[in-house]
């Protein structure tokens, strides 16, 4: 089966046999089966390359994030390599034509230098977004722009609108408790998350073609601001509300996607997938909650240890001779271990809790796509229904040889076109989703693998550090007892 031509073939055959909604359903099922099969076929031989391709952006190490913008080529280089291999190996790749070997196409972005601007409620954080590329669509090899969080939201929403069916990489949460909004930790975590967000887009074979991405990475702040306010002013509610609205929408669709709606896909595999996603969110939320609590526990233990250390030192001051010294050394070590714990807590937050949270957000993004798919499916069915009625009407008119036949025929043709369009839209979503699902699983396996590795490494490092710190006390204590 020749994959690249397949979607077309599928949609053609599908639209040709669309007379009734019931038959369209069964038809759809067949098509989905085909798609699934296809994705399976795709998966098996290319597992390796896919895994490679959807490797997440490595969470930028603190060292990296602190380095000035000019010093990132190392990272972008490796990312470009990866993307290039993707281009070479993936048959299902983007429409972009294979390029001549010397110019390996790359697009790498870094989000750096968060700066607080404005005052009071108006205050916000701006980031320096640096794009490096050799793609001809871009103005030059390097472009630096200043962007704020709502610009990233704009990009996200635009992509969501134009790439239905693709799991748009999730954004970090909008809302933070006011108290923490400008805390260094929050800002750094958001910076990191935004960096991952934009790089995921830049490495996605379809999304990287987006005009919106190009706009986002290149236009001046003024233009960006106009675009953003135009978007939010004309078509949408303000960004905050939009976010809330979306949340509500996805929540409503949770309900809606249940059994109430009559027009609903009922393919068992799709049902299973939906069920999986919804359950997964709960499980992940629980794991993430515990991870966050673990971070807190590290901090609390650190705090207790340092308090304990201080108390022990004071107690040591009451003792004379070697014992007093032993006490104060124990106190000092306690404080040292406390610092290790605090440090590890931050590591844990950045490299274990945050990826888990990202995972949850990704699942939520899938849910949004599921909702879109539902909408597209309904539209398609409604149109098919209308066409059926029009057809009957047209037949009637033909029989009565009414003068309205011509008019009706035009209307019918238009509708037919619309319907075909709707079917195509839906089909695209279905196709993209099944592709995306594979990618999603691959990516999350890697993401989690990295997070687990970081977690285990961090815990081992911490435990070793603690063991070493305490061990160094032992000879002194031994000396005391003589």
């Amino acid at each position: 089966m020749d994959y690249p031509t397949h979607p077309l073939f599928l949609s053609l055959s599908f639209s040709a046999q669309i007379p009734t909604s019931s038959s369209s359903l069964s038809n759809y099922q067949r098509s989905v089966e085909l798609t699934e099969l296809q994705s399976l076929l795709l998966t098996l031989p290319h597992e390796q390359s896919l895994r490679h391709r959807f490797c997440p952006q490595p969470p930028p190490s603190p060292a990296c994030s602190e380095s000035p913008p000019g010093t990132t080529p190392n990272r972008s280089g490796s990312r470009a390599d990866r993307m290039w291999t993707e281009q070479q190996r993936s048959p299902s790749g983007s429409s972009q034509s294979p390029r001549s070997p010397p110019a390996q196409p790359y697009l790498s972005v870094s989000v750096t230098d968060p700066v607080k601007l404005g005052n009071g409620v108006q205050a916000y954080i701006s980031y320096r977004v640096i794009a490096k590329t050799n793609l001809p669509e871009y103005q030059g090899p390097e472009k630096i722009v200043i962007r704020r969080y709502s610009d990233f939201v704009w990009l996200h929403d635009r992509l969501f609108e134009s790439y239905k069916g693709i799991f748009i990489p999730p954004l970090p949460e909008k809302s933070a408790v006011e108290k923490f909004r400008f805390s260094a930790e929050f800002i750094e975590m958001r910076r990191q998350a935004l960096d991952i967000f934009v790089n995921r887009i830049a490495s996605h074979h379809e999304l990287r073609q987006s005009d919106d991405l190009r706009t986002f990475l290149q236009v001046d702040e003024e233009v960006m601001e106009r675009l953003r306010s135009y978007e939010t002013g004309l078509f949408k509610k303000p960004a905050d509300l939009m976010q809330i609205f979306k949340d509500v929408q996805s929540k409503v669709s949770d309900v809606v996607l249940g059994k109430e709606k009559p027009v609903e896909e009922s393919h068992p595999d799709y049902e299973k997938m939906k069920h999986y996603i919804f359950e997964l969110e709960n499980h992940l939320a629980e794991a993430q909650k515990q991870a966050y609590r673990l971070v807190k526990r590290h901090r609390e233990l650190g705090k207790s240890l340092s308090d304990f250390g201080k108390a022990v030192k004071l107690l040591g001051a009451c003792e004379e001779n070697a014992l007093g010294k032993a006490f104060s050394e124990l106190g000092a070590k306690s404080e040292l271990v406390s610092i290790k714990l605090q440090k590890e807590a931050t590591e844990l937050l950045m490299h274990f809790e945050e990826p888990l949270k990202d995972y949850v957000r990704a699942v939520q993004s899938i849910k949004a796509t599921i909702a879109e798919r539902g909408t597209a499916f309904r539209q398609q069915c409604e149109l098919a229904e209308t066409i059926k009625l029009k057809e009957i009407n047209l037949d009637k008119l033909m029989l009565t040889r009414s003068d309205k036949v011509r008019e009706a025929e035009i209307e019918y043709r238009e509708l037919k076109g619309e319907s075909e369009e709707a079917v195509r839209r839906f089909e695209t979503i279905v196709r993209r989703m099944s592709e995306e699902m594979v990618h999603f699983q691959e990516q999350k396996t890697t993401d989690m693998g990295v997070a687990f590795h970081e977690f285990a490494k961090g815990q081992a490092r911490l435990a070793n550090g603690i063991a070493d710190a305490w061990r160094s006390l032992l000879p002194k204590l031994e000396a005391c007892s003589v």
Partner: protein, 571 residues
């Protein structure tokens, strides 16, 4: 006979104000606070008259007679014959006193003179043996276990139906100390007996750091019957008795031996008997022979107590006020600079200990929480693993599930290690609590010393006032030649008083010196033992931390290795 007007009044006031305090009906703050302080001083006295042979033990209404809980008892006036005569007239129109009230009701010195139990010998202060608490001399040992709590019924009929049960514990001792005359024996004792033991010890071993006895819990009567309460108390009692047995002097005391060994009812007197404590040949003189202001020599070895000798208490109070104001220089002052320094140091140490033990507690809690959360994280991932395996469509899901399983298992293992670590930490840091508790004993020993000194001071100033009175009298009588009979009689009386007071003073000074010596040797012992115990604690704590940190590091190190493929891929 023993229900003197004075005591009756005392009792009535105590019970009445207790009543106010507990029922909070009549909220007269000054009165209830007075009652409170009275209650406290009574507690330190803690001389229950319930065991008086003449009073039916019923007065010790246990547990349920808490006025807040107990059903309104039948008016006690209808059972007057059951009441202890001493408290009869006072408390007949209010509710019967609770267990605690009775145990701690103030004691009238006069009443006890008739009930002489076992003589409590004075400790031999000259040869205090000093060995480490923890490693008590390889040769001698006493091992005490408290077990098998049993509910028992009070034998006499009660005015509070059903409320007269108490719990006894089996106290088993294993020892090789020859004085005990046997390697193993056990007796049944109740909490009240322990109170008696600790009271007797406090009297006989003034100046020693006597391990404090477990508190009576405030909610006692409500929870007394509960299983966990009984268990808690059992543990506390065992700890207490073991501490006593570890004390180099106390372990050899007759009081402890009697408590541990004598079958049946505890033969120790439940109230102080001054006559039984005659020291150094001081003769007990009938009170009426002395002018009422004179303290009998044998009594000076005891601190003045509330109900017993109000006058003496008043005098000593006056003396201490005088000392505080510094108006008149007391005839004898604490001049042991070294001791004062040590006292100061002990005070500091107590504060630091209390701080450290508090921090240790919160450390233990934080460690516990850490273990628990680690376990919960593991559990969350185990669930997730199961879920992914069930729902798996792609291989990537399965390999992820496998990774998760690794992590989950490690988290659960680490959690277990954290918990074990915590158990050990609790054990080690308990030394801090232990010593904090011991500070109470130190306080007790120091206040023994202070009160003994106060007695000496009071007697000295009294003596000097007697002497000046005698001089005046003599001067006056020398002017009137031949003198008159009454003056001569007065002189005689005064001389006698001076003689008695002189005796008392000497006894008091001896007692003070003895306590001083006890304090000194105990401080030395404490320093030595504390050094060893603290060092052990530190070592235990550190070794433990190292050991478990290594284990935890191992667990995670393995996982880190297993997942290292991801690290290479992402870097």
């Amino acid at each position: 006979m023993m229900g003197s007007e004075n005591q009756g009044f005392e009792d009535a006031r105590l019970y009445a104000s207790k009543e106010e305090m507990e029922s909070l009906v009549l909220g007269d703050p000054s009165r209830s606070s007075y009652a409170n302080s009275d209650y406290r001083s009574a507690m330190s006295n803690s001389l229950p008259d319930s065991h008086h042979p003449l009073s039916p033990p019923i007065l010790a209404t246990p547990a349920d007679s808490d006025p807040l809980l107990a059903p309104p008892p039948p008016p006690s006036s209808s059972y007057p014959e059951l009441r202890n005569p001493s408290s009869h007239d006072s408390s007949s129109y209010i509710e019967p006193p609770s267990y605690a009230d009775v145990i701690f009701s103030p004691f009238d010195g006069d009443s006890s003179s008739e009930i002489n139990g076992v003589d409590s010998p004075s400790p031999s202060s000259d040869s205090p043996v000093s060995f480490s608490r923890s490693s008590s001399s390889g040769t001698e040992y006493i091992k005490i276990t408290v077990s098998n709590p049993q509910k028992e019924q009070e034998v006499t009929n009660s005015i509070v139906p059903g409320g007269n049960t108490y719990v006894t514990y089996l106290v088993t001792t294993r020892t090789n100390i020859p004085e005990f005359g046997g390697p193993e024996f056990s007796v049944r004792r109740r909490f009240r007996d322990v109170v008696t033991l600790s009271d007797r010890l406090a009297e006989s071993y003034r100046g020693f750091f006597i391990p404090p006895r477990p508190d009576k819990s405030v909610v006692e009567s409500q929870v007394m019957q509960k299983q966990e309460f009984v268990e808690q108390r059992r543990v506390a009692l065992e700890k207490y008795l073991r501490r006593l047995a570890a004390h180099p002097i106390i372990k050899k005391s007759d009081e402890l031996r009697v408590f541990l060994q004598v079958q049946g009812k505890l033969p120790l007197p439940t109230s102080t008997d001054v006559a039984s404590r005659m020291l150094d040949g001081a003769v007990k003189l009938p009170k009426q022979l002395l002018s009422e202001s004179v303290v009998a020599p044998h009594e000076v070895v005891q601190p003045a107590k509330g109900g017993r000798d109000l006058l003496r208490l008043f005098k000593e109070l006056k003396q201490s006020v005088a000392n505080d104001w510094g108006g008149s220089k007391p005839p004898a002052v604490e001049e042991d600079k070294e001791f004062l320094e040590k006292k100061e140091r002990m005070h500091d140490m107590e504060q630091q200990l209390s701080n450290a033990s508090q921090q240790a507690e919160s450390l233990v809690k934080a460690q516990q929480d850490m273990g628990e959360t680690m376990g919960e994280l593991g559990l969350a991932f185990i669930k997730l693993t199961k879920f992914e395996n069930e729902e798996a469509v792609f291989n990537s899901q399965r390999s992820r599930a496998a990774d998760m399983k690794n992590l989950a298992t490690a988290a659960v293992k680490a959690s277990r290690f954290y918990r074990e670590l915590n158990l050990h930490t609790v054990k080690h840091l308990d030394t801090l609590h232990e010593y904090l508790g011991l500070m109470l004993a130190v306080h007790g020993a120091f206040s023994d010393r202070t009160s003994a000194l106060l007695t000496v001071q009071t007697l000295l100033s009294e003596l000097s006032s007697f002497k000046s009175r005698a001089e005046k009298l003599e001067a006056a009588s020398s002017k009137i030649f031949g003198g008159d009979k009454s003056r001569i009689r007065k002189m005689e009386e005064l001389r006698e008083t001076i003689r008695v007071t002189e005796d008392a003073k000497n006894v008091a000074i001896r007692e003070y010196e003895r306590i001083k010596e006890n304090n000194r040797t105990e401080l030395e012992r404490l320093d030595k033992e504390r050094h060893a115990d603290f060092l052990n604690m530190l070592k235990g704590f550190v070794v433990n931390q190292v050991g478990y940190a290594e284990k935890i590091a191992n667990v995670w190190g393995k996982v880190a290795e297993e997942t290292s493929a991801y690290a290479r891929e992402s870097s």
